[in-house]
C-alpha cells in the first residue's frame, strides 16, 4: 500500500510560537490509499502540524510537498483548492439547513439564476450513497445523529479533486456503532485511493483503522511505523518518550511508605495514620457504579483518609471526565456518590464544595483563575462562597488568610493585592490550591496540577500533596507523568478509552504495569 510515492510529504518543518518550540524539524509522509494515525500526548505538536499542512499556520522553515511539488498554502481555503480537506472535531455545518443544502452550500447547482433543488437533492443523495448512507437529504441536519452529521461533513469535501482527507478527532462524540459506521466509510475511501490522516486519542481505534502511525513528542518527530509492527505497549512508550527497557518493575521512586507500614502492600489505608480499621469507617468518598453516557463508563472508587488516588491514562482516557462527575460539574446519569458514607446529592460544584470537596481544574485559565481579580480575592473566593455573601471577610482578614497561604505554598508575588493574571503558571496553580485549602476540604481533586509549570513548582506541588495526605485528606491526583503518580499515590486507577480499567496497588504500582494495563496486555 505504500510502494508508491507519498502524496504529501512534510520535510523538516519547524514552527515556533512566542516562548514555545511547537515543531522542531518534523518529518511526515502520507501515502495514497492509507489511513495514517498521528499520535502524541498533549503538547506533542499534532494540531500544529495539521494546521501547517492546512494553511492555518505558516511554518518557519521546512517544506511541504504535494505530489512531489512544493506548495505553500496560506489559508485553509487554499489548502482545500489543492485537494487537502479537513473535517474538524466540532462540525462546521449549519444544523438548521437540510442535508443537501449543507453539502452544496456556496456551490448550489443553479438554473436560470435560482437554486435547482431537484438536481441538488439528487446529487446529494448520490454523494452520500458513495459513503453507503441512505437518508432523506431534504430533512434538516439536526434531525440526524452526530455520526451522520460527521459523514455529511466528510461528503461535503469529497469531490474529484479531493486527494487528502484529514479527520481531527472524528470519533470523540460517537458511540460504538456510530464509530463502526464511520470506519466503514473511512475504509471505503481508503480503498478508493484517498490518503487519510486520522487523529484520535483512542488507542483501540488507532489499531482498528490505521495502516501507519507517526508519533510526535514535545514537537519532535519520534518515528513512523507500520501499525502491524508496532505493539501497543511500544506505541505508548514512544508517546511518553521512553524506551521500553527503561521501565522498571520496581516501585522505585514510588511514595515512601512509613516504616511501620512498609511491609503492608495491599491496602492503601494502611498508609493512613488516622483512619483506624478500614472496614469500620466509611470511605471519605465512595462512588458506586457512577457513570455518564458518552463521557465515562460506570466506575467504582473508594477514597479513604490519607489516600492519594492517582489517575493514570493517556490524554482523553476519561480521567478528567471522572473528576468532573465526582465534583458535580457534570451530572451522572447512573450510580451513587457518597461522602463519608452519606449519600451526597452532589449535582453541582457548590454541592460538592459544601460536602467538603475541592477541585483544581486542569484548565487554569478558563476554569480556575479570575484574571482581573486580585490574588487575595482569588484565594478567598471559594471560602467566601462557602460562608455565604453576608458573612463578609474583611479586607484585613482576607489579607491574613491570603498571606498565610502565599507564604506556606511559596507563591511568588510582590503583593497579595496584585492581579492574578500577573502570576506565572506554577504560581497560578498554587493559587488554585490555596483557594481550596482555605475552605478546609476533606477531599481534594487535582486535575493535572503539574502541567505546564517548571520543575521546581512541580516538586513543591507534589510535596503539598504528600503533606495533605499526611494530614488525613483524601486526594485524587491526575497526572500524565507516571513518575509523579508513583511518587505521590497510595493507589493508582488506570483509565483507557473512557473506561476505568484497573486499580493498581502495592507491587503493581510501577511504570511497566501501568503501561501494560493501558495497552491492555496484562
Amino acid at each position: 500500500m505504500s510502494d508508491n510515492a507519498p502524496i504529501v510529504e512534510l520535510k523538516k518543518i519547524c514552527k515556533t510560537f512566542p516562548g514555545v518550540k511547537a515543531l522542531s524539524s518534523v518529518d511526515f509522509r502520507l501515502f495514497p490509499g492509507e489511513v495514517h494515525a498521528l499520535m502524541g500526548q498533549n503538547g506533542a505538536g499534532k494540531s500544529t502540524l495539521v494546521k501547517v499542512l492546512t494553511g492555518v499556520y505558516r511554518q518557519d522553515s521546512g517544506e511541504i510537498l504535494l505530489e512531489g511539488k512544493p506548495i505553500r498554502p496560506d489559508s485553509p481555503l487554499a489548502a482545500q483548492k489543492l485537494g487537502i480537506n479537513t473535517v474538524y472535531q466540532e462540525i462546521n455545518l449549519c444544523l438548521n439547513l437540510s442535508v443537501a443544502e449543507n453539502i452544496f452550500i456556496g456551490r448550489e447547482p443553479k438554473r436560470l439564476g435560482r437554486i435547482d433543488w431537484k438536481t441538488m437533492n439528487g446529487k446529494a443523495e448520490e454523494v452520500l450513497k458513495r459513503l453507503n448512507i441512505n437518508i432523506d437529504v431534504t430533512k434538516i441536519l439536526s434531525s440526524y445523529s452526530i455520526a451522520v452529521q460527521q459523514m455529511v461533513a466528510i461528503s461535503r469535501v469529497l469531490d474529484s479533486s479531493s486527494k487528502v482527507l484529514i479527520l481531527d478527532e472524528p470519533t470523540s462524540s460517537l458511540d460504538e456503532t456510530e464509530v463502526a459506521q464511520l470506519f466503514k466509510v473511512i475504509k471505503k475511501l481508503r480503498d478508493e485511493g484517498m490518503a487519510i490522516l486520522f487523529i484520535t486519542h483512542f488507542l483501540d481505534q488507532t489499531y482498528q483503522i490505521s495502516d501507519r502511525i507517526t508519533v510526535l513528542k514535545n514537537g519532535e518527530f519520534v518515528g513512523e511505523y507500520e501499525t502491524g509492527n508496532l505493539p501497543k505497549l511500544e506505541l505508548i512508550a514512544k508517546m511518553l518518550g521512553k524506551e521500553l527497557s527503561e521501565f522498571s518493575y520496581t516501585t522505585s521512586g514510588a511514595r515512601e511508605k512509613k516504616p511501620d507500614t512498609a511491609d503492608d502492600t495491599a491496602a492503601g489505608t494502611a498508609d493512613d495514620p488516622a483512619a483506624g480499621p478500614a472496614d469500620d469507617t466509611a470511605p471519605l468518598l465512595e462512588a458506586k457504579n457512577l457513570g455518564l453516557r458518552g463521557s465515562i463508563a460506570p466506575f467504582d472508587i473508594a477514597l479513604r483518609e490519607g489516600d492519594v488516588l492517582g489517575f493514570a491514562g493517556l490524554l482523553g482516557s476519561g480521567r478528567t471526565e471522572t473528576a468532573r462527575l465526582l465534583f458535580g460539574i457534570d451530572a451522572a446519569d447512573q450510580g451513587d456518590l457518597a461522602v463519608k458514607g452519606k449519600k451526597a446529592g452532589i449535582s453541582s460544584p457548590r454541592g460538592a464544595m459544601m460536602a467538603g470537596m475541592g477541585f483544581c481544574s486542569e484548565d487554569r485559565k478558563n476554569e480556575g483563575i479570575f484574571a482581573e481579580l486580585s490574588i487575595r480575592e482569588n484565594i478567598i473566593l471559594a471560602l467566601q462562597a462557602k460562608m455565604g455573601a453576608s458573612k463578609y471577610l474583611s479586607t484585613k482578614k482576607q489579607l491574613e488568610i491570603a498571606e498565610e497561604l502565599i507564604a506556606s505554598l511559596r507563591i511568588v508575588t510582590p503583593s497579595a493585592n496584585g492581579e492574578a493574571k500577573q502570576l506565572s503558571g506554577g504560581n497560578q496553580q498554587k493559587l488554585l490550591l490555596a483557594r481550596w485549602l482555605c475552605t478546609n476540604p476533606i477531599i481534594l481533586i487535582l486535575d493535572e496540577p503539574t502541567r505546564g509549570i517548571d520543575v521546581g513548582a512541580k516538586l513543591e506541588i507534589m510535596e503539598q500533596i504528600l503533606n495533605l495526605s499526611r494530614k488525613g485528606l483524601g486526594v485524587v491526583f491526575i497526572s500524565s507523568e507516571f513518575e509523579e503518580l508513583l511518587r505521590c499515590s497510595t493507589k493508582i486507577a488506570v483509565f483507557r478509552d473512557k473506561v476505568k480499567i484497573a486499580e493498581l496497588e502495592g507491587e503493581d504500582m510501577n511504570e511497566r504495569t501501568i503501561m501494560q494495563t493501558i495497552a491492555g496486555g496484562r
Binding site: 465534583f327 460539574i329 453541582s348 460544584p349 457548590r350 460538592a352 464544595m353 459544601m354 477541585f359 481544574s361 478558563n366 476554569e367 480556575g368 483563575i369 479570575f370 484574571a371 482581573e372 481579580l373 480575592e377 473566593l381 471559594a382 467566601q384 462562597a385 462557602k386 460562608m387 455565604g388 455573601a389 453576608s390 458573612k391 463578609y392 471577610l393 483557594r435
Partner: protein, 340 residues
C-alpha cells in the same frame, strides 16, 4: 509624579476629567451656566437642573451597573419605567381635586413591586432559561411598552394628587428631592456590594462564569437577583419620571432611557465585558450624559445636530477610557508622561 500615576490609574479619574472639561467649557461659553438663584427657598439654575433631570438615569444606572458587571445587559429598563409610571398613575387616579384613589404609598409600592416582577422575568430568562441577555430583555423592552399602554388604557393619565409631586418636583434643603433618592439608593447598593461579598461574587461571575461555578458560587441565583434589582431601580425611576410631569404616558415615558443609562455605566468605567464595576463612576457617567444634554440645549444647538454632538463627546470619553488608546497617544507625543 507617582501620585499622578496612581490617580490616573483609578477608573473614576477619566470620567471626572471629562465632566470637568464639559463644565469648564460651559463656564467659558455658556452665559450664566453656573448661576444659581434662590427662588422660594429652592435653588434654581442649570447645575441644579442637571442633578434633577439626571436623577432618573442615575437610578437606572445603579441597577444596570450590576447587570453589566455580570456580563449582561438590560435594555428593558426604559419600558419598565413606563410600566411603573403607568401603574402608579392608575392607582393614584386622575381625580381633579387631587384625592388619590388608593393611598399614595400603596400605589408607589405596587408600582415598584410590578417592576421587580418585570426584572425577575428578565432574570428568569437569562439565568434559568439561558437566553442571551440582550434578547431576553429585548422581549420585555418591546412587550413592556404594550403593558404600559394597557395599564393606562392607552391614554395619557394626568395626576393632581399634589403630595406625589414631591418625588420629581420637590425640594429638600434647597436641593431636588430626587437627588436624595439617588443618594440613598447608591449608598445602600454600595454597602450591599462592598460590605458583603455580593460585589465580589458579581465580579467573579462577570469575569469568568465557569470558574465561578467551579468555585462554588451560585451564579444562576446571583444573576436572577441582579436583574430583579435592575427592575427595582427602573421602578423607582418610573416613580420619579411620573411625578416630574405628573402624568403617565405609556408611549413616551422613559423612552430611550436604557441607552442613556447604559452609556452612563460604560462611560463610568464598567466594561461591557463584565467584571469589575464602578457604581460611583456610573453616577459621574450619568452626570456627563445629562450635562451634555443641558449644554446642547443651553447652546441652542439645532436638534438635528444635537445628537451628533452627543455622539462625538461619548466617542471621545470612550477613547479616553481605553488604556491602549492612551498608550498610543502617549507614543505619538514621544516621552510625555501620560498615564501609561
Amino acid at each position: 509624579m507617582a501620585w499622578l500615576n496612581t490617580l490616573t490609574r483609578r477608573k473614576i479619574f477619566w470620567p471626572l476629567v471629562a465632566l470637568a472639561f464639559l463644565l469648564a467649557f460651559n463656564l467659558f461659553f455658556t452665559p450664566n451656566f453656573f448661576s444659581v438663584e434662590i427662588k422660594q427657598g429652592h435653588l434654581y439654575g442649570n447645575v441644579i437642573d442637571i442633578l434633577k433631570n439626571g436623577a432618573p438615569i442615575m437610578l437606572l444606572a445603579v441597577g444596570l451597573t450590576l447587570v453589566i458587571a455580570t456580563k449582561g445587559i438590560d435594555i428593558s429598563v426604559g419600558s419598565v419605567v413606563a410600566i411603573s409610571a403607568g401603574v402608579v398613575a392608575m392607582l393614584i387616579g386622575g381625580d381633579l381635586k387631587g384625592n388619590p384613589k388608593y393611598p399614595i404609598a400603596f400605589a408607589m409600592s405596587a408600582a415598584v413591586l410590578v417592576s421587580v416582577a418585570a426584572g425577575m422575568w428578565n432574570g428568569m430568562l437569562v439565568s434559568w432559561v439561558g437566553m442571551q441577555p440582550i434578547i431576553a430583555t429585548l422581549i420585555l423592552s418591546v412587550a413592556g411598552r404594550g403593558i404600559a399602554m394597557v395599564t393606562t388604557n392607552a391614554m395619557v393619565v394626568w395626576l393632581y394628587a399634589n403630595p406625589f409631586a414631591l418625588l420629581g418636583q420637590g425640594y429638600l434643603l434647597g436641593l431636588p428631592f430626587s437627588i436624595y433618592m439617588v443618594a440613598v439608593l447608591l449608598l445602600l447598593t454600595w454597602l450591599a456590594m462592598r460590605r458583603t461579598a455580593l460585589g465580589l461574587f458579581i465580579e467573579a461571575v462577570g469575569i469568568n462564569p465557569t470558574a465561578s461555578r467551579f468555585a462554588g458560587i451560585n451564579a444562576k441565583n446571583l444573576i436572577f437577583w441582579v436583574y430583579a434589582f435592575s427592575g427595582f431601580c427602573a421602578g423607582v425611576s418610573g416613580l420619579v419620571v411620573c411625578s416630574t410631569v405628573m402624568s403617565a404616558d405609556g408611549n413616551n415615558a422613559g423612552l430611550g432611557y436604557e441607552m442613556d443609562a447604559i452609556l452612563a455605566v460604560v462611560i463610568g468605567g464598567t466594561s461591557m465585558n463584565g467584571g469589575k464595576f464602578y457604581l460611583f463612576g456610573s453616577m459621574v457617567g450619568a452626570l456627563i450624559v445629562q450635562t451634555l444634554t443641558t449644554t446642547i440645549y443651553a447652546f441652542n444647538v439645532p436638534p438635528e445636530i444635537a445628537q451628533v454632538v452627543k455622539a462625538l463627546v461619548v466617542w471621545t470619553v470612550s477613547l479616553l477610557q481605553s488604556a491602549s488608546f492612551r498608550a498610543k497617544v502617549a507614543g505619538l507625543f514621544g516621552k510625555r508622561e501620560v498615564a501609561a
